[in-house]
Structures are given as structure tokens and as C-alpha cells.
Amino acid sequence: MFLINCPFCGQREQSEFKAGGEAHIVRPKQPTELSDDEWAEYLFMRKNIKGVQFERWNHVHGCRKWFNMVRDTSNDQIKAVYKIGEKPPVK
């Protein structure tokens, strides 16, 4: 179980958090103008990387805040955590 540094609460155990899939996928501002394919791209397509991945996490049993995380999925090393709206601090 990892230790996650919630940007609002500090270091807590993974069991307090819920993973929320790939980060930085912005909901289209005008969904009605998208074709079926474009909408499907937003709705269904997610990366599944072995390596560095940008993810959303929710401190569901804590402050309830969503935030972003950069995690290496091959070894679970967390490279960074940052607030929603902030630029990722690592590439």
C-alpha cells in the first residue's frame, strides 16, 4: 500500500484514497458539436501506460478533494502530486 501525499492533508495511507483514472482529459465545452467518434474518444479512450502516468485521485476518506498524481505504474513510485488546475511539475 502506498503512502500518498494529499496536497491538502499531507501523507496518508492509500486506503483513504480512490483512484479516478487518467488525468488532464478535459470535458468538451460543447459536446453537442462533436461527432460520434470525437465524443467516443473523450468518453471511452484511456491510456494504460507501463511507466509514468498522469492520474486523478480523490482523498475520499479524508478531505474529499480531487487532485492529480504522477505515478510510475511499473514500480508505483509517485513522482509528484499537484492540485487540479495546476501544471504537472514533472514531464
Binding site: 500500500m1 502506498f2 503512502l3 480512490k18 479516478g20 478535459v26 470535458r27 460543447q30 459536446p31 453537442t32 462533436l34 460520434d36 465524443w39 467516443a40 468518453l43 486523478r56 480523490n58 475520499v60 474529499r64 478533494k65 480531487w66 514500480n75 508505483d76 513510485q77 487540479i84 488546475g85
Partner: protein
């Protein structure tokens, strides 16, 4: 049995403390300090169990947790029973009862032994292949296979013992208390670090604590004496906590480890009462030092599994630690110097060694010369080719190895023995290291995998790191622990080591035989009866990856996870396939390192704590009034209230009639409630619900439907506008937490510009719903100041009110289709208000009803239940709820998905009503719906989602989803059941009061 198997000079055995125990119904004696294995050996018992597949007689092979064979079932005189326990790990106690496993009718005569003779037709993959044979063949064999397969018997009653979980945080965790672990723990603790030292054994010191050899010394002292002083010193250190009988089960990422601490298993039964039996330690360590040692390798040759065949290190431990001789006429078979240490221990006790068979042509070490001096015959460059003796080894035959070690040459020599010790070198115990995500590297010169890349702040030291001589172990431990702890202070100024061993080894993974391989049984995995022949067969059949070979042959898949034989499996694969070691992967060792009891895993989360219940504030009233309960999520909800021996059907029929004819009362406190505030609250609701919210006036309520972004119905409920910028949303009982999570997600990540705040208030309010034609009269008695006239308080509106000066909210909303009022009051007043309603309703025959009646009443009205009439594939259009989907709104969650090519298909499954031809036939929920049963294969059109007998309509009603159902009104369909086909007609899902007259109690 001869008494000279026990030597009276072991300080680890208390010979003044005799312990009696039973094995296979016979009583034996041992001493305090014995394991079941050492006590059995002292009594001359070698045959312990039968092997898994061939039912071959098996004995004790090792002296520790790596034991593959001596696996027994433990009992005591009460209800406790534990299967698959290693006899080598059980400390004997007064009253111990153990039996052999995997034998029938007895370990000495076992019917399954026939499998041994049948083995030519039981090759690797036998079970997989059998399934492909004709079914009739399988059935004949199944009975016998089931009878003879399986290890141990599960206990028949609940576990009476107490278990617990414990969190530990420390600076340094040291796993293993051998020489290197002791040194590391002392250095860490003396440098001011909070240190925890754990060891799976009952004592500290590992194998060095009984190393009395003159050939290995530390600071000119016998190793064991030096170590005793060290242990004595560290046991007084304040910073150091020591836990024995504590086995690390799992090493997870981020230095999170699980360990099992055994607290009472070694105590006499009568001293265990009310004590915690085992404890699961959840350890967070800043730094981890793994010093788990190494496991001796057996050697792989024909019939290498008979009782009486041991690891040579085990023979040494039984003599030096337990004072027990494994045999009276020993032969040692080795490819390295370790066996000579065992030989010296045997010689010192005057136990006969018939011969030593050594794979090596040349042996050059002090200890081997010393052994030779004692007139022990050493066969250099020889190998064992076969063994004899059914229930215990009697004899072996040996032959000379060719120069390349691939064949045997010359004449066969037979030697008598009753004990054969094997030493194939050592395998570092890297299990925990690899569990943590560590990467191994292969060291060619002595053919071992050792730690290479560490995934967290940890190191491996001692022989688990590939250091095998005492000198290397001590020197490298000092060096690397110093570096790891970033300290100059080593605590050990000068340390001098003398070692008489030479590290040379002649490694041959599979020893050659004079027989063709097909005629041999050279066991690689003893517990699962996987042989070298099986591994070669798997390779011939095309398997390459070790993970595939492992599953096909079951090598390494026993409870011991192949601690002894996995290296040989890898070796045989790489030799046969002509590849490098590790090229086909190394097997993954998974947690737990040794098996854990279920009790340890669950700890105190048993009985009522297994799954925590949520109870409404009115719960006690329901209990007192004979409610039957239903689990909804974590909630206990009143299901129905039987009176005078009514069954569920009778109770529900009565409750349903009362709710429509006079009055009913429901505890709806479990509904999710989310308080929504902020200047953008209306806009927020516009975006999350399918319908429009901006124009909802203050004091009004509206039903809302929430979709997922894929257009599928997610949740529903009534939301009330309490004030300009203040709403209260209700959700389904089961969906409350998820809905809040989803709303927070959109609010925080997609629409952070909205001024909206959400809080869950589910637990803060009790919700009491009073419905039926008389409900107005009842509520007016409870809240006399409230004007309940239809003009002042119409359907779908809300009023603030007071009951005995306590504020409450009253909503006039209805899930039953009847006139009804929902009183929301601070939770702690819930029960008293409920009782007031019951009291006020007495004259109107107010009837408490549960969830079953609620479901029936709403089904009469065709109201859906999300999760029952929907799964994650129903759009509002599929539910014939087009009316709730706003056409005007620019966007809401899921809107775009409602006109994807798939969601606009005409023949999607759509919600319909179903009426049975015979009004007394009640459909089964989940039953399939078809149109034509003659055409094969029968096309499944859908299924029944809700079904009841309606006492108000006096007929059976049902809801279901049917392909293209929207356009099938009036059509006949069939529900095929086991013994009959039920004819149904597609109907409007609203069965009762389509005009909604009853909402105003106008009947």
C-alpha cells in the same frame, strides 16, 4: 524404539519438562523445546504423510518453514482443527494431537499409492488433459480423484480463537535474527533509531546459535558463544523491540509489511484461554534490512523423496539443536562443503557415517580433511543414481560422474543407510525482496539469484544477499549497514573471523542416471509431485516461460511455493532449452511467505464486526414491532412487519392495501441526502440532472434523473429548493456515497468556477413518510399549526414546520402514488416523531410498512428503482421517460451520449409493463422473456426486472425490459420457466391511477 536417537546434551531442550502428544492416535513423548518433527524423529517416526499426486510415502525433509513434505493436521480436544501445518514449525505442547494428511485409510496403507504405479498415465498436465477426454471417462475417475486429492480437512465449526491486528511504525525493521540480523539490529538501535527485529523462530541467532564448530570462529570464540553474548546485549537495548515467532508474510511497496506474530500456539492448551492467538502486524518501516538467510538446496536424482532423506543442514540442526539423530547409519550426498559441517556434528556425537558422496572430483578445505581423518569414506566425483526402501530409505546406489557431469559411468555401488543427507548448495531467501518489487541478478559462479535493484529504502544482508561464508557475512554486513544507516559508528571495532569452509561447488541441476529419464522419478517439487520428467515434457510440448511451465507442471504451486525446488526447475529449463538462467523469467514469490490463518487475516473483523451495519434512528421501534430486516448497502432496513404468524407475502399484501385504503408509514431515513448551497446551485443542478431546474420556485420539489456521461441512468431522487441558493437533494439509499463523489468530481475538476458547496446530511435527518388517503388527517394531528390544504400545500412542495418546538421540514412528495407527506427532522428526534405519528394514526389504522411494500406500491405506479429496473445499460429513453429529458438545455451530464448511434437504436431493451394471462401467475424476477420458443436457438428478448401480486389491482403485475418493447404494447410474449411457459401481454408500465388522482386523495 531405540533411545540412542536422543542425545542428552542440547541446551535448547528442557529434558526436565516432558511433553506427551499424539500422532496418528498413538501417544509419544518429547521435551519442551522440541518441534513436532524433532519429537517424532526422536521416536524413530519418519513416515509422516503421503504425496499429493502419487501418494508416495513422505517424511521430514527440513527443519523449518521451507518444509514441503511433513505437513500434518493439528487438532486438540475441543473444536479446533488446523490443516496444512508444517511439523517442522510446530512447537510441541501438552495435549497436541496431530494426524497425517492426504492418506486413506492410513498413512501406512494408502489406497492412493496406486497412483504411483499409474504414474506413466499421470504426466504433467494430466488434469488439464483429462478434461478433454470423453466426458464418460472423466466421470469414472472423478470419484477416486476427489477422494484421494486435497491436503487436509477444513475445520467444521467457527474458529473459537481470538486474533487481532496491530500497527507498528519504526525507523528500521530487521527481518531475521541470524548473525547478520543481530549485528544490523544492534547497529541501528545503538545509533538512536527505533528498531524492530523479528524472527520466525522461537529463539534468536538463526543457524549460528548452534554452530559449535571449531572451524568457524568470531574474535577467536566459537560462533555460538560470541552470538549469545551479542543477543544478551541487544535484549537490553531500549530502542530495540524484538519479536520472535513472528514471520513476515508480505513485503509491499513503500516499506509496508505484514507479519504474523504467533502468541499462544506453543502453549499447553489450558494456558491459552482468553489470550490472543495470532496477531497480524502492519508495519510501516522507514528502512528495512532483510536478513532472511538462505535455504539449502536438495539434489535432483531418481527417487530422491523417500522418508529418511533430509537436507544435510536439517540433520545438523536435529543433532546440534534438538539433540536428535535422524538416522543411525548416515550417508551424506553433496556438491559443496556444507555437508562436511554436518559430518563433523555427526562425528562429534559418535553417529555412524557410512559414506559421503561428493559430486566434486577435488575437495580442498580444512573441514574436508578433518572429516577424512576420521576414516570416513568419501566418494569423489560420484552421484547417487537411485534409492531403495518404501516407508523409509534402506539403501542407495551410486555411480561415477562423467567429466562433463552429463552421464554416469562405471559400475554401480550399493550402500546401506537409514538416512541420506542432501546438500546442493544454498539458495538466498529472496522471497521478500522480490515481493517488494526488487529485481534479481544471476551470479554465474555459484548459480544463485541475488538482489540487484532495490525498489525502496531497504537492503539485504547476509546469506539472503548471496554471502555464504561467515567472514563474508560479517564483513559485508558491517560495511553495508553502516552505509545504509549513514553512520560511522559500527559498534564493532575489530572483528576477526576464521572459517574452515571452501566455497567451491559442482552444480548439476539434474543429476544423470543410468536409466532413461522416462523411467525416473526425480522430484523437483516434492509437495506437488512435479518431477524433472514433467518439466522436460512441458518444454517438449512448447511451454517456455517459467510461469507457464509452473502452471502446467504445478511446480512451485504448493503451500511451500517451491522453496526447495524452484531453482532446479529454472536450471533444468535453461539447460534443456539451452538458454541462460533467468532468460525465461524467474518465478514470482507471492505473499504470504508462509501460509496465514484466516483468523489472522480478518483479526477482530468477525461476527457483528465483519460488516458494519447502519441503523436508522427508528431502528429500535422496528425491532420492537417485529420487523424483518433487509440489507441495503450497509443499512438494515425494515423489510416487512409480520403480524400473527403471517408470512412475507401475507404481510406485504396487508401493508400494501392499508397504504392505499387508510394510511401507511415508512422509515425513509436511509435515503441519501445532500445539502447543496451556493449562488450557482441552480446552474449546477441543471448540469447534473436531465431536466431543467432554474425555474423551480423556492419551496417546491422536483424529481430528477441523473445520468452517467455515457447516457445511462445513474441515480434518481427528489430535490427541494429550500431557499434561493439552497437545495436538498435525495438519492437512492445505495447510491448516496457514489453520487456525492460524482458531484464533487464534476464540481472540483470540470466546473471549479461554480460557487457550490456539497455536504452529506444523510445521517443528520430522520425521514418519516406518511401516505394514504388518511395521511393528511394524521399529519395535521402531529403538526396542528401547519396548513395542509391543497391550496397552501400542494403536491411537490415543501414547508418548514415545528413539532414540539423542534424545527422540521415537511415535503409533500410521493413514491407510492398516494397522497403523502415526508417529515424530515433532526435524527435524534426521529423515533419520538415516528411514535407520535403512530399514535396519531391509531384511529385510521396507520400501518407501518417496509421496503417490500414500498417496492410493490411504486411498481403499481410504474416508478422505476435504479439498480433494479435499470442496470448500467438503460437510458431515460429506454425507460420511456423521455418527458424528463430537457430538449432545451444546452448540456447536462450524459446528454451527448443520448444520440450516439448505439443509444438511438430502435431495438434497444426498453422498459415495459407485463401482465400475465393468468392473473395469479407471479413472474420470477430475472426470468427471460422470449417471443418464439420453437425457433432454435431461442432468441432472448429481455428479462423481468420487478414482479409482484398487487392486492389493490387483484392481479399479478411486472416490469421488464424487452428489445423494442416500446412498440410492442398489447403483444403476446412468453416467459419460459422450468416446468411451464407463462404467457404475458406487454402493457403500459403504469398499472394504477394513470391520471394521478390519488395524489390528492380523490378516489
Amino acid at each position: 524404539m531405540s533411545n540412542n536417537l536422543r542425545f542428552k546434551s542440547s541446551k535448547f531442550i528442557d529434558e526436565t519438562y516432558r511433553v506427551s502428544f499424539k500422532f496418528n492416535n498413538k501417544t509419544y513423548f518429547g521435551f519442551k523445546g522440541d518441534t513436532l518433527a524433532s519429537a517424532l524423529l526422536a521416536n524413530g517416526i519418519h513416515l509422516i504423510g503421503r504425496s499429493f499426486k502419487y501418494h508416495r510415502p513422505r517424511g521430514i525433509m527440513t527443519s523449518g518453514s521451507e518444509e514441503p513434505n511433513a505437513i500434518i493436521q493439528l487438532h486438540d480436544n475441543s473444536t479446533r482443527s488446523e490443516p496444512n501445518v508444517r511439523a517442522t514449525e510446530v512447537e510441541i505442547y501438552e495435549g497436541l494431537v496431530a494426524t497425517s494428511q492426504n492418506c486413506w485409510p492410513s498413512v501406512n496403507f494408502d489406497v492412493g499409492g496406486i497412483n504411483n504405479l499409474l504414474s506413466p498415465i499421470l504426466p504433467a498436465g494430466f488434469y488439464y488433459k483429462t478434461f478433454m477426454w470423453p466426458e464418460s471417462f472423466w466421470k469414472k475417475y472423478e470419484y477416486f480423484i476427489r477422494k484421494s486429492a486435497g491436503l487436509g480437512k477444513s475445520p467444521k465449526v467457527a474458529d473459537p480463537d481470538i486474533y487481532e491486528h496491530n500497527y507498528i511504525h519504526c525507523d528500521v525493521l530487521v527481518i531475521g535474527a541470524g548473525v547478520s540480523g543481530i549485528i544490523a539490529a544492534k547497529m541501528a538501535a545503538k545509533n538512536g533509531l527505533k528498531t524492530l527485529l523479528v524472527d520466525e523462530k522461537s529463539y534468536l541467532g538463526g543457524s549460528s546459535i548452534y554452530d559449535n564448530s571449531e572451524f568457524s570462529k568470531i574474535n577467536n570464540q566459537i560462533t555460538s558463544s560470541w552470538l549469545e553474548k551479542e543477543i544478551n546485549e541487544i535484549s537490553k537495548l531500549e530502542n530495540l523491540e524484538i519479536k520472535t515467532r513472528t514471520s513476515v508474510a508480505a513485503f509491499h511497496a513503500y516499506n509496508f509489511l505484514l507479519a504474523r506474530e504467533n502468541l499462544t500456539d506453543h502453549l499447553p492448551i489450558n494456558q491459552r484461554e482468553n489470550k490472543v492467538r495470532q496477531r497480524l502486524l502492519k508495519i510501516r518501516a522507514k528502512k528495512v534490512i532483510t536478513a532472511t538467510g538462505s535455504i539449502e538446496r536438495p539434489l535432483i536424482f531418481d527417487n530422491n523423496d523417500r522418508p529418511g532423506i533430509f537436507l544435510s543442514s536439517a540433520i545438523k540442526k536435529y543433532i546440534d539443536f534438538y539433540g536428535v539423530a535422524c538416522g543411525e547409519n548416515n550417508v551424506l550426498f553433496t556438491n559443496n562443503d556444507t555437508a562436511y559441517e554436518t559430518a563433523m556434528s555427526l562425528i562429534q556425537r559418535g553417529i555412524k557415517i557410512n559414506a559421503i558422496i561428493d559430486n566434486r572430483e577435488q575437495i580442498d578445505s580444512k573441514i574436508s580433511y578433518e572429516v577424512e581423518k576420521n576414516n570416513i569414506k568419501i566418494y569423489k566425483g560420484y552421484t547417487v543414481v537411485d534409492t531403495y526402501g518404501y516407508r523409509r530409505i534402506k539403501k542407495i546406489s551410486i555411480m561415477k560422474l562423467s567429466k562433463d557431469g552429463q552421464t554416469v559411468i562405471g559400475d554401480k555401488i550399493k550402500l546401506n543407510c537409514d538416512c541420506l543427507g542432501l546438500s546442493g548448495g544454498w539458495t538466498p531467501a529472496v522471497h521478500l525482496f522480490t515481493q517488494s518489487g526488487g529485481k534479481l541478478k544471476f551470479r554465474e559462479e555459484d548459480q544463485v539469484f541475488i538482489p540487484d535493484v532495490y525498489p525502496s529504502d531497504q537492503i539485504s544482508i547476509g546469506s539472503c544477499n548471496g554471502d555464504f561464508s561467515l567472514e563474508e557475512i560479517v564483513k559485508n554486513t558491517l560495511f553495508s549497514v553502516k552505509k545504509f544507516l549513514n553512520t560511522e559508528n559500527s559498534e564493532y571495532k575489530t572483528i576477526e573471523i576464521i572459517s574452515g569452509l571452501n566455497l567451491s561447488k559442482r552444480n548439476i541441476w539434474l543429476l544423470p542416471s543410468d536409466k532413461p529419464i522416462g523411467k525416473t522419478k526425480s522430484f523437483v517439487d516434492y509437495q506437488n509431485d512435479a518431477t524433472s520428467k514433467d518439466i522436460k515434457l512441458a518444454l517438449r510440448e512448447g511451454f517456455r516461460s517459467i510461469e507457464h511451465v509452473k502452471r502446467y507442471t504445478t511446480t512451485g504451486m504448493g503451500t511451500d511455493q517451491g522453496k526447495l525446488g524452484n531453482m532446479h526447475a529454472l536450471g533444468i529449463i535453461s539447460e534443456t532449452a539451452g538458454t541462460k538462467m533467468g532468460e525465461h523469467g524467474t518465478t514470482t514469490f507471492r505473499p504470504p511467505y508462509t501460509p496465514l490463518t484466516f483468523g489472522t487475516i480478518v483479526g477482530r473483523n468477525v461476527g457483528e464486526f465483519f460488516d458494519i451495519f447502519r441503523r436508522t434512528p427508528i431502528h429500535d421501534w422496528h425491532v420492537a414491532n417485529n420487523a424483518q430486516f433487509e440489507n441495503v448497502g450497509q443499512w438494515k432496513r425494515a423489510w416487512y412487519y409480520p403480524r400473527n404468524n403471517e408470512n412475507m407475502h401475507q404481510a406485504v399484501q396487508r401493508e400494501s392495501k392499508a397504504a392505499r385504503e387508510t394510511a401507511g408509514i415508512l422509515d425513509a431515513s436511509t435515503l441519501g441526502k445532500i445539502d447543496i448551497q451556493g449562488t450557482d446551485a441552480s446552474e449546477f443542478l441543471n448540469r447534473v440532472y436531465t431536466n431543467a431546474w432554474s425555474k423551480l420556485a423556492v419551496g417546491k420539489c422536483r424529481y430528477g434523473l441523473m445520468l452517467n456521461e455515457d447516457g445511462m441512468v445513474y441515480d434518481d431522487g427528489v430535490t427541494t429548493r429550500l431557499d434561493e441558493n439552497h437545495y436538498i437533494m435525495t438519492t437512492t439509499t445505495g447510491g448516496a456515497a457514489n453520487v456525492l463523489g460524482k458531484l464533487e468530481d464534476y464540481l472540483q475538476t470540470e466546473w471549479p468556477e461554480l460557487d457550490v458547496y456539497l455536504s452529506s446530511v444523510t445521517d443528520h435527518y430522520a425521514t418519516i413518510s406518511v401516505c394514504g388517503p388518511d395521511s393528511k388527517k394524521i399529519v395535521s394531528k402531529v403538526i396542528p399549526d401547519l396548513d395542509l390544504s391543497d391550496e397552501k400545500f400542494p403536491h411537490m412542495s415543501f414547508k418548514n414546520a415545528k413539532i414540539d418546538n423542534i424545527k422540521c421540514r415537511v415535503m409533500r412528495i410521493s413514491f407510492t402514488g398516494e397522497l403523502s407527506y415526508e417529515i424530515n427532522i433532526q435524527a435524534n428526534y426521529g423515533k419520538s416523531v415516528w411514535e407520535k405519528c403512530i399514535e396519531a394514526g391509531k384511529d385510521f389504522d396507520i400501518t407501518p410498512y417496509g421496503t417490500e411494500t414500498m417496492h410493490l406500491l411504486r411498481a403499481e405506479k410504474g416508478f422505476i428503482i435504479v439498480g433494479q429496473d435499470t442496470d448500467a445499460t438503460m437510458t431515460p429513453i429506454d425507460l420511456q421517460m423521455d418527458w424528463i429529458v430537457s430538449k432545451k438545455k444546452f448540456d447536462f451530464i450524459g446528454k451527448r451520449s443520448l444520440y450516439r448511434s448505439d443509444t438511438i437504436r430502435e431495438n434497444r431493451k426498453q422498459l415495459v409493463g407485463l401482465l400475465t394471462e393468468n392473473p395469479d401467475d407471479i413472474l420470477e424476477e430475472g426470468a427471460q422473456i422470449v417471443a418464439d420458443i420453437k425457433k432454435k436457438p431461442v432468441e432472448m428478448l429481455g428479462h423481468v426486472t420487478s414482479s409482484y401480486y398487487s392486492p389493490n389491482l387483484k392481479k399479478s403485475i411486472a416490469l421488464g425490459v424487452v428489445k423494442g418493447g416500446k412498440n410492442m404494447l398489447g403483444q403476446k410474449l412468453i416467459i419460459p420457466m422450468e416446468n411451464k411457459n407463462i404467457n404475458v401481454t406487454v402493457a403500459d408500465p403504469v398499472f394504477l391511477d394513470k391520471e394521478g388522482k390519488r395524489l390528492n386523495a380523490k378516489l
